[in-house]
Subunit: 600 residues, 2 copies
């Protein structure tokens, strides 16, 4: 069975040494009192829950999967999931980042981010149950009526109830404008303002299960007078059990799980086909503005998906590194390193190290980026300075598709490398490595495929506002370069960072001009473009991390030596990918579009 | 369920238009009479078997898997596999490329290559049963005593019996020098010259099953007086049932399947733990020279693994392309392309095309390379001209690790892209796309991991003979460049090919010099290096294919238009990867080796 050790030391490094989060949190009224000790204490306890309670259920949950009772439409999660969830609720973990007005602990998003990384390292399938709940919480918090908030938020905060997003239908995923689920005014019994919703949804994660007393579905559907397409979609809250005025549970609502999907991975999470047959739902937000309301949830979910992959990258790395230090096979090409043993441990082989360091550099770089983005969200939500708030919001908008797509692509690369370190043992189920790969694959698809993320980045976030948001990122990087450029010890990082910054700016301008003449140029280049900007951000953070490590040169602390070595590895072996990306980003739409569809 | 259409048109293109195989075969006595019609007729029938008999069993075989009876140690393959194998044997397919002296049809390896591509597209797990048999056939053909050949080859040729390779043990895969299985002289009952073999093997593909009457295991073990390490390993033939003097089956031998592995994919193939408890075996080849003998089988197997991945790339492409033409989702960024429909088919989106064309360019380029390599093997085996034989052998030695590693890495990329084209539907089992990805993953591991392939290429095939083999490839490419460089229509292909050729030569020299001072430089760069040479070979074949397509400009045949468009795509979007590879190949051992193992 794979093991998992919460990377608390590296989290402390990111939170306190790299980002000095308490200095920022101090400026935010709700978090002004949060200190280093509190943050670290929460992380330590969260890490215990992750590694001791849910990590042991990851492999068994994958093997067992979820079960649907076709008569009752009830779904049973794998053994142990329900009890673990009860422990999670008892521990108050669902409420960590929730509003104190609804019983939450009001702790920063940047802390919650670290908690979720650990939960996902331990058990992605399990973590999706509370993860989606938090998305539903955020959506209702932002768009619900006062009554809806009062009805649902305290129970979502406590974790007593869980949540879902019901978007996809068989014929529409990316293109929600095509959706067919209908909402009709409820007629007589609708004195309560409810609508009767009918339709079929697919791919609903955590759509039905036995972990919680009630499930709060957020459902996209069309009102009778709805305009065609995506401008005619409304959002409804549809509880599994209706909620009485006193908050107690009432009748079972007409939304049921009609089938479970059989998937490549995340077997422990119930991916449901949901059938709504006149289910009672209440409008959330404005009629026909459902997509906007849902996007609040979606943006949080996108960061959540990036975090899933960050978690998988970390845990795959830990297991592969441990294996590489133990497994004896062949001698080092540069002479035996463990002559007393029958063979050297495979960590002596350069390519094994290369695979390991790839995963490590992506995990540590991803952690820095994800916590940084979460801290920006804390500022966006709570800063009292309008300019700070706006800058933070702009950077979050820019970084969200990068966290989602770059981190999930990197996890696909990393988990596959870590499997490879195990050789044939990586391919069999026993060691758990192939599960990380299977689980990682979904993250490139759901909550907007990585292609959609790249179009969001290049089309909307960069070109549509003429580079305003991108410029804010570039300025940050410039300031760092100017500050550090005088230190010769930093030049090995500063030079390639500056070089890439220039190339990325130039590429952005170039693509903007091309897009002007042919919008397909955006789609032809966007996936490469996102990885270029992803590397730019990683290069920035790896240079900053190297700075901190260099400052501790005198300590002879192995942690900083490893950090510096990993930074050097990143610049020597991973950053060069941008040379290829920039070229193929220039490949152009013509090479792609010239072939007639019939010839494929 | 996924569909599969044998790519006969493209095979005809590769065989007859690109490589003009009959012109070469004419010079080889055993194949002098083989004509285009014969080749095409065999391919058509082979394609029918693949698409009609075994393709329908691919998904069901994956879901059902193999079953071990723990009392009898018998393994049952998935439903339908046994009957399909009987049909295969009745059709005479196993004997296609086998020696006529043992009942084979003596047809060229280049034809067998195309057959196996189709079988693997249809059902990789099933195809491993006959595929491994052919490896055992080749090993006994090359190294068996006349008596062993007479005993085993006719039944392996007919397919009546199947074969295995029993190499791996729990503590050794790559490093066979560590293996512990022992062979003792058989004592009194050994008047037949047998040894008694005892030990445990793991990861034995097709180790036990119900498809054939007997299984011929080729087992690596140590003789009592064996030197330590890889120089003390001998090869034995160990039949499941002993064979009487008259060829009838005798007693059950003491080699049994003790457990089945639970794997990420290829569930339809029985991956067995084999337990030998004084099993009777006969020495094949010289004592202590078992690894050499096994390498005959291994080299064939490496090309076979590349072919597995070629098959998966093709079938994944076909299904993704069909889906992209049918699935309606969003409008083209450059304006609606199917305004009469609710949305455009997703093939209008540039990045969907990019994913599809990646798989297509890798499939078609891989086919050209694989058939070319197989034709070189035909020359190596049967040419009467010693110089031709030597050149062919050198090129086969050079290209084998490239076919194995480059094609399997490309299939991993391609099948994942093709899954992505399906969005969420790619992640669920129903459409069969995720199975292609799971099946493709093993090909990067077995028969020598892709890292081992890259060390074989750079360390042994290039540096150890001071570039002699590589130079033969470079000369071929140079000749083509010189011949075509005058045609301006070819410049778009010739220029980047020439450029890459120069860079690859320079990189080879550079790495040779670095390796001189530190052997770890080979391991640090070899994986990148293999992909650089892989792209060089692909660029050469894509340029040659473009040449043929351009020659048919006037035909207005859509086949050549598609070929030319795919060639352009390859040069614009895939070849640029070399820019990154060359840089990271220069990353150097220091960045990898400086971190102390304890810091991982």
């Amino acid at each position: 069975m794979p093991h998992y050790t919460p990377p608390l030391r590296d989290m402390h490094f990111v939170l306190h040494e790299l980002l000095k989060v308490t200095e920022t949190l101090k400026t935010l009224p709700p978090h002004a009192e949060v200190d280093v000790e509190t943050l670290n204490a929460v992380l330590e306890e969260g890490g215990k829950f992750a590694s001791e309670v849910i990590a042991p259920l990851n492999q068994s949950g994958d093997a067992e999967g979820c079960a649907l009772n076709r008569d009752t439409h009830e779904v049973t999660a794998p053994s142990g999931f329900k009890a673990a969830y009860a422990t999670f609720v008892e521990g108050g973990w669902p409420s960590l980042g929730c509003d104190t007005a609804y019983g939450g602990q009001g702790l920063p998003v940047s802390l919650n981010q670290c908690l979720y990384e650990m939960l996902n390292s331990a058990n992605q399938a399990w973590t999706m149950y509370p993860g989606l709940t938090h998305g539903a919480y955020e959506c209702l918090h932002a768009h619900g009526t006062p009554e809806q908030r009062q009805t649902y938020l305290p129970r979502l905060t406590s974790g007593e109830w869980t949540g879902t997003m019901c978007l996809t239908e068989a014929h529409c995923g990316t293109d929600l404008g095509l959706l067919r689920t209908r909402a009709l005014p409820g007629g007589d019994p609708s004195a309560d303002g409810s609508f009767l919703i009918t339709g079929n949804k697919i791919f609903i994660s955590a759509g039905e299960h036995d972990l919680a007393a009630n499930i709060v579905h957020l459902v996209l559907a069309r009102l009778p007078d709805a305009p065609e397409g995506s401008k005619g979609i409304s959002l409804f809250v549809v509880p599994k059990f209706l909620v009485n005025a006193d908050g107690s549970l009432g009748a079972r609502n007409a939304i049921v799980c009609s089938a479970l999907e059989h998937k490549m991975g995340i077997h422990g999470n119930a991916t449901c086909q949901m059938s709504l047959d006149g289910a009672r739902g209440w409008l959330v937000g404005q009629p026909h503005k459902g997509l906007n309301a849902m996007f609040v949830m979606m943006n949080a979910a996108r960061l959540g998906v990036g975090t899933q992959s960050l978690g998988l990258t970390e845990v795959a790395y830990q297991n592969a590194a441990a294996y590489a230090k133990e497994r004896l096979q062949m001698r080092s090409l540069s002479g035996p390193k463990a002559p007393e043993l029958a063979a050297d441990p495979i960590i002596v082989h350069p390519d094994v190290r290369r695979m390991l360091l790839t995963a490590r550099a992506y995990a540590e770089g991803g952690r820095a980026l994800a916590v940084y983005t979460a801290l920006l969200i804390d500022q966006e939500l709570s800063s009292t300075d309008a300019a700070v708030k706006e800058d933070a919001a702009d950077l979050v908008a820019l970084l969200t598709p990068i966290v989602k797509a770059f981190l999930t692509d990197n996890a696909w690369i990393s988990t596959s490398h870590c499997l490879q370190v195990f050789g044939g043992h990586g391919y069999i189920r026993e060691w758990g490595m192939e599960q990380f790969v299977r689980d990682a694959r979904i993250n490139m698809i759901y909550e907007g495929t990585n292609t959609i993320q790249s179009l969001d980045l290049l089309g909307r976030k960069v070109l549509l506002d003429r580079g305003k948001k991108l410029k804010k990122l570039i300025v940050l990087i410039q300031q760092f370069i100017e500050k550090e450029g005088a230190d010769t010890a930093m030049l090995e990082f500063i030079n390639p960072l500056a070089d890439l910054g220039e190339k990325a700016s130039k590429l952005s301008t170039e693509l903007g001009l091309k897009a002007f003449t042919n919008p397909d140029e955006v789609g032809a280049a966007s996936v490469d473009y996102l990885r270029v900007i992803g590397h730019l951000v990683f290069a920035y953070f790896w240079a900053r991390m190297a700075r901190v490590a260099i400052d501790h040169r005198a300590d002879d602390d192995p942690f900083y030596r490893a950090k510096l070595a990993t930074a050097r590895f990143y610049f020597a072996f991973l950053l060069p990918e941008t040379a290829a990306l920039i070229r193929s980003a220039r490949g152009g739409a013509r090479s792609l579009m010239s072939m007639d569809a019939s010839l494929f």
